[in-house]
Amino acid sequence: MTEMIARTLPEPRPRPEFFAEGRLNADFGVVEKPLTFAEKLWNNGALRKAVLLLLLAAGWELYARSLNNPLLVPTFSSTLEAFWTAIASGELPGKALNSLRLLLQGYGLGLALALLFTAFAMMTRIGTDLLETLTSMFNPLPAIALLPLTLIWFGLGDKSIIFVLVHSVLWAVALNTHSGFKSVSNTLRMVGRNCGLGGISFVTKILIPAAFPSILTGLKIGWAFAWRTLIAAELVFGATSGKGGLGWFIYEAKNQLEIPAVFAGLFTVILIGLLVENLFFRNIERVTVKRWGMQS
């Protein structure tokens, strides 16, 4: 059977061999050439985004002017003006600081609890079950939905806000840290134990750095959740003991129909969010997971 097939199929023709003699050609064109200045500029993502922002601001200004109704949409320039006056008077920075102070308390407490939960989950199987059940229950529950309850439990005050902040941070961070730990490769675990690591030193020297991309994602998600929850909670709660935050600033400005100030408040919320994301977390990423090649 195979012989028959072999006879009907063509054989490769014999051909002469070839060897390059002496040196190979060196007169090819470009091997490496620097890009032009314009090309480099356009490759800068920050610059491209800055151009986009300018266009958006120009569009806003034009639309607001043509609408000519500062109660609905104030112009970009009047928003900026309100922003500067609120900053100059010290009102906006003070409110922002109040918000950030609360946020840090809630965030810190949430992280500490997440650490405890994950440690418990890593040590025992029932701890894992508990964490997985609780996160799947509470992660989809918006923190704001707890506000009515917390009002009854803790009353009007920082405690209530911190409670909802913890709720918004805890589950996101615990979930990501736990799944990060679980996905640490078996080889790395074996390497750690081979070098004589165990217990706490195994966690700090192998598990945490190896799971750091996930942990960092958890921290970022937790931060974003907390920031949104905080502003929303402040809108509902208003001022506590006479010093409100950014949410309260927006609410108050709306009540007094100072719409440019409302926009300035929203602008501040966005600005702080961007700063934390782009300066703080971006730089942590740059010196850790990006440098390590664990995230592209």
């Binding site: 059977m1 490769s185 080889t187 790395l188 074996m190 390497v191 750690g192 134990r193 081979n194 070098c195 004589g196 690591l197 030193s201 020297k205 192998i206 750095p209 190896a210 750091f212 850790t288 440098r291 390590w292 090649g293 664990m294």
Partner: protein, 272 residues
């Protein structure tokens, strides 16, 4: 080439070891009553097809799993848990800590095992990195290295510890053929320099012949010792039968399978 004055007491003593592990649905017997001795400065190769339990055996020697039957002793002491006296080199490239540079990776083993600290560890690390020709890359992070370079770092990390025995679990299996060949030569060069003892797992017959001074052949399902043969790095023909060593090993490893495949399958016909 004879092993250098083998000590009468073996360095590693494996006696009647049966290894079993559980998957989600089965209890698998990986090896059944396997015995062998590794002497000092030997390059001992565990060779067999997949399913012969050679990697499981390696894990047990590493201390990652306990035998259900039999004993394993290193220098007369029963192996109970992983330890820096048996440094492992794995097949996977991710055995390097991605958050540490090449130098820090090597130092990590030295420092976390408590063997050396500070500048002593750094000097030792640089010395071994030089041995695997990676001095230029000492401050590189692992993700910037090629596969072969990563494996060289892993070998340097293990060798810096000066373990009683080096355990290599198919360390070159994930490399391309050219790099693999080069790494085998480099390993032999390193061995010629320091004459370390190494237990080497592979499923490649040419690699076993090239690397090993003594080869243990294992049959699959479950792993059992088929033969233990000496080797000097050359695929020599047997002076009597004229059969090449590699062919000899091949027929020993696959004899049963040939019998199985030539036997008439149930309900089938051999010839058309």
């Amino acid at each position: 080439m004879k092993p250098l004055e083998p000590t009468p007491t073996p360095l590693l003593e494996v006696r009647g070891v049966t290894l079993q592990y559980k998957t989600k649905e089965h209890l698998v017997t990986a090896t059944y009553r396997v015995s062998f001795d590794v002497l000092s400065s030997e390059r001992f190769v565990l060779l067999g097809p997949s399913g012969c339990g050679k990697s499981t055996l390696m894990k047990a020697v590493g201390g990652y799993m306990a035998p259900t039957e039999g004993t394993m002793k290193l220098k007369g002491k029963t192996i109970r848990k992983p330890g820096p006296d048996r440094m492992m080199v794995f097949q996977e490239f991710d055995q390097l800590l991605p958050w540490k540079t090449v130098k820090k990776n090597v130092m990590f083993a030295l420092e976390s095992s408590g063997r050396m600290r500070g500048t002593a560890a750094e000097d030792k690390a640089m010395e071994t990195i030089a041995k695997v020709n990676l001095t230029k890359f000492a401050d590189n992070y692992p993700h910037t290295l090629s596969g072969g370079m990563k494996q060289r770092v892993a070998i340097a990390r293990a060798m810096a510890m000066e373990p009683d025995i080096l355990l290599m679990d198919e360390p070159f299996a994930a490399l391309d053929a050219l790099t693999r060949r080069k790494m085998q030569d480099e390993l032999m060069q390193l061995w010629a320099d320091t004459k370390f003892t190494v237990l080497f797992v592979t499923h490649s017959i040419p690699e076993a012949i090239r690397v090993g001074s003594r080869i243990l052949l294992l049959s699959p399902h479950p792993g059992q010792v088929k033969a233990e043969i000496n080797c000097d790095g050359e695929d020599r023909a047997d002076p009597v039968s004229g059969v090449k060593l590699s062919d000899q090993i091949h027929s020993m490893l696959f004899a049963e399978q040939v019998e199985q495949t030539t036997a008439v399958p149930a309900g089938g016909r051999v010839h058309d």
